[in-house]
Symmetry: C2
Subunit: 241 residues, 2 copies
């Protein structure tokens, strides 16, 4: 029998114009920083934006946004709190500060629950911070969120791209929309990633230089937007709204 909550998910997301799932082959490539900064950038451009942290393996957007002790309001579902001009919802509201070694079925259940209860209402963009890589959770979200578009983050590292390549191949096979690839933490000139991306018929959104100052800006959204990283991200042509 199908879980009755699954039917509600489409209804919950019908006021959302575009769903962007920020994803990576593996962790540590800046996925959560890009998802958060992307959401903040679009909000500053007067778009209605939601940020949804579904990275249950390592939810960190609340640390990046400098948000503490926030709790969503319950009202015929859950209303995500407004933070820095965003509607913000995170799996961390439920898992808290503790280790949450959710077993497979629990992860699946938590994802369905969060997608089914969160009332986003009207949004121009819903940015999802995805779990890294290709996991049950990734496949669950693809199945549950029908209008999902992937924005893939990689670094120039061969080790990172090794896994991104597999993610791209899988998404292509599943006919899931990939709107672009961002190359983050760029240090040396090299066209490898762009070449690989374009050879697969995908759009290369551009590169963001490695920014040693970024760490200092974590937890302060104004500093974050003012970093080299924040500026370069804001200059991406595809983000012009």
């Amino acid at each position: 029998m199908t879980d009755p909550r699954i039917g509600i998910i489409d209804e919950r997301l019908k006021g959302v114009n575009e769903i962007v799932a920020v994803s990576s082959g593996k962790g540590g490539v800046g996925k959560s920083l890009i998802a958060s900064t992307l959401a903040l950038t679009l909000a500053r451009r007067h778009c209605k934006v939601g940020l949804f942290d579904l990275d249950f393996t390592s939810p960190t957007t609340h640390v990046i946004l400098g948000v503490k002790g926030l709790r969503p309001r319950e009202e015929k579902g859950i209303i995500p709190p407004q933070v820095h001009g965003l509607k913000y919802m995170s799996i961390v509201y439920y898992s808290g500060e503790y280790a949450s070694p959710l077993r497979g079925a629990e992860v699946s259940n938590a994802l369905i629950e969060l997608l089914a209860i969160t009332r986003w209402n009207n949004l121009d963009f819903l940015i999802i911070d995805m779990p890294p890589g290709i996991s049950d959770a990734t496949l669950d979200i693809i199945r549950l969120v029908k209008r999902i578009n992937f924005l893939i983050v990689t670094t120039p590292s061969r080790l990172a791209f090794e896994t991104v390549r597999k993610l791209i191949d899988l998404l292509s096979e599943l006919r899931v929309s990939i709107i672009g690839v961002i190359e983050n933490m760029k240090m040396k000139k090299s066209g490898f990633v762009q070449q690989q991306v374009e050879a697969r018929g995908l759009t290369f959104w551009g590169e963001i230089p490695f920014d040693a100052e970024l760490e200092e800006a974590i937890g302060d959204v104004n500093k974050l937007s003012a970093t080299q990283f924040g500026k370069k991200l804001g200059e991406i042509e595809k983000l012009k709204v």
Copy 2:
């Protein structure tokens, strides 16, 4: 009913003196590079070493070691091939170059199978490259490999340590042995990680500076050992054998 293969695992590992599971809170912190270089370093010091890549989310040790087209030999189980003085076994032998979106039960099954069939015989050290973070797979491996010791890799980043902290808390709760913590990709002076580690009664193994040249050494074990990264790892006091 218990899977009959589980009983064999202890038998398969009984000739192994020390089992070191190199683990991280999230990906991208250099876990696989540390696992591989650690194994190579110990092998050069005339230890009998096995390297076992169980990071099914993103197996990369074969890329680091520059190994291609290797297949283990079947003989009353599986004999891991000898590579650069190591016995080397990877989940990639089975998942190949393709995306392997193994669903939960399949991951569990693959881990049991690999642990039950691989014949390590006598080893001083078996280094396991673990799946990142706290997942079903991590919990499975803890359950299956009774004499496991964790060596945890983090970076100075608050975002990386946020997740490492949860991993440490969970392992402590489960009374799993943690032999130490390595701080990788260090860029600025800061005692934050060491402090946090020692406050938890754990051993801080030391820090390894960020090495921009490391990427060039991937796939070439001689270059790898000669990098700043390789040298600093080799100098860790706890590794003196």
